[in-house]
């Protein structure tokens, strides 16, 4: 497989803060990749670096094999939908749609029109007067209809209602099936998007802490619940990612369990339950004190 994005030892410093701290990763061409992490983790900085809107302090970025900074060949193939895109003051929605093809050679005006109907966007309204959700749908429509070989969605659905979000997922999947391309999706709504993702990158404090396929991450962790003593015995000699205790009941999150491990747990009367991608990320990026004790 060829890489759409290849990053080596990338660092971006603002004063003494390392917003992106010596990260290396690659994103395969033609995949939908999730870029996940907490507020201020470095997601947006990373995307700005990847789209040539910011300059690296050190390290190397390759987008379609070339450096993106000030490189028209790369940037004409890239669409970056920002959380709060600014438009000229007197721009109406129809002006945004009219100017989009100037930037995106694959722009599909018919598709954009369908999406405008789907999202019920008023064409004549000034962009300034749009609600937060409507402004987000403008971004979503541009991102989808641009059909750029590499599309970034940075928290694309602030203020979007549940109907509009599902519309976005459906249209993204359908269009991606017909026109395969690389999509990087940055969001906090992990549970909603986890099934759409093929690859997951989790960034925390400027560092990549998870870089794996969504399939591998699913089922790699298990929560074991039961009598505290039994849980402690079972967790002994195993890596504990997270531990909670209430009264005499204990709950630990462990790495992958083999079928033999599962039988052992069942024999010890322990209950096993899966950990969702969202829980996994919350636990990995949560407070460093992994031991939370609740007194009964």
């Amino acid at each position: 497989m060829t890489a759409a994005i290849e990053v080596t030892d990338l660092t971006r410093r603002f004063g003494s803060t390392r917003a992106v701290d010596n990260v290396s990763f690659r994103i395969e061409d033609g995949t939908i990749c999730g870029l996940l992490g907490r507020n201020g983790a470095g997601k947006t900085t990373l995307m700005q670096l990847l789209t040539g809107q910011d300059f690296a302090t050190s390290g190397d970025i390759r987008v379609f094999g070339e450096t993106p900074a000030e490189n028209a060949r790369v940037l004409q193939n890239v669409c970056f939908i920002k959380e709060s895109q600014k438009y000229p003051d007197d721009f109406r929605v129809k002006h945004v749609m009219k100017s989009a093809p100037w930037f995106f050679q694959n722009w599909d005006a018919d598709f954009a029109e369908t999406l405008i109907d789907d999202f019920r966007l008023p064409l004549d309204r000034k962009v300034k007067k749009l609600s937060r959700g409507q402004l987000s749908s403008v971004g979503v429509i541009i991102g989808l209809a641009s059909r750029a070989p590499l599309t970034f969605f940075d928290e694309p659905y602030l203020g979007l209602d549940a109907v509009a979000r599902h519309l976005f997922y459906d249209r993204l999947l359908a269009d991606y099936s017909l026109h395969p391309r690389t999509v990087v999706l940055s969001t906090h709504l992990i549970d909603e998007v986890s099934n759409l993702l093929e690859h997951v990158l989790v960034i925390d404090n400027g560092r990549i802490i998870i870089d794996d396929t969504a399939d591998n991450l699913r089922g790699t962790t298990t929560t074991v619940v039961g009598k505290a003593s039994a849980v402690d015995d079972f967790a002994h000699n195993r890596t504990v990612l997270h531990r909670e205790r209430i009264g005499g009941i204990s709950s630990v999150t462990l790495g992958a369990l083999s079928p033999a491990d599962k039988r052992e747990a069942a024999a010890a009367d322990l209950e096993l339950s899966p950990v969702s991608l969202q829980q996994l990320i919350v636990q990995k990026t949560g407070s460093p004190a992994s031991e939370t004790e609740i007194s009964a």
Binding site: D170, L173, N195, L277
Partner: protein, 118 residues
């Protein structure tokens, strides 16, 4: 879709269930990867992986340029496999819970007979 198992395996299970129920008879064309992706709202590559699992196990076969089809004898193969795993998947957990509740295997058998008659 639940969280405990890789989605592609769940897709494979869904297709197997459809074959068992007769919704997908032998030599019927199964929906395309993109149709599965849209229906279950999952990544098309994941759906494709699920379909490929069944190609590898001989449940589905590929007609190049047309799509995936159910093999002759797929239903029997799935039945045999599921019957083989039935004790560990269903009986063992049932016995474990029964023993927690102080129900013996004999009592359980009686309960099953009684429920089966309803």
């Amino acid at each position: 879709m639940d969280d405990s198992r890789p989605i592609f395996l769940q897709i494979a299970d869904h297709i197997e269930n459809d074959i068992l129920s007769g919704a997908l008879p032998a030599n019927a064309q199964v929906p395309s990867t993109n149709e599965y992706a849209a229906f279950y709202r999952i990544n098309p590559a994941t759906a494709g992986k699920g379909v490929n699992v069944l190609v590898d196990t001989g449940i589905l076969y590929k007609k190049r340029g047309i799509g995936m089809f159910v093999t002759e004898g797929a239903r029997d193969a799935i039945l045999a496999e599921r019957r083989k795993t039935f004790p560990s998947e269903y009986i063992r957990p049932l016995l474990n819970e029964a023993s927690n509740l102080g129900i013996s295997a004999e009592q359980l058998a009686t309960m099953i007979m009684k429920e089966g008659k309803r």
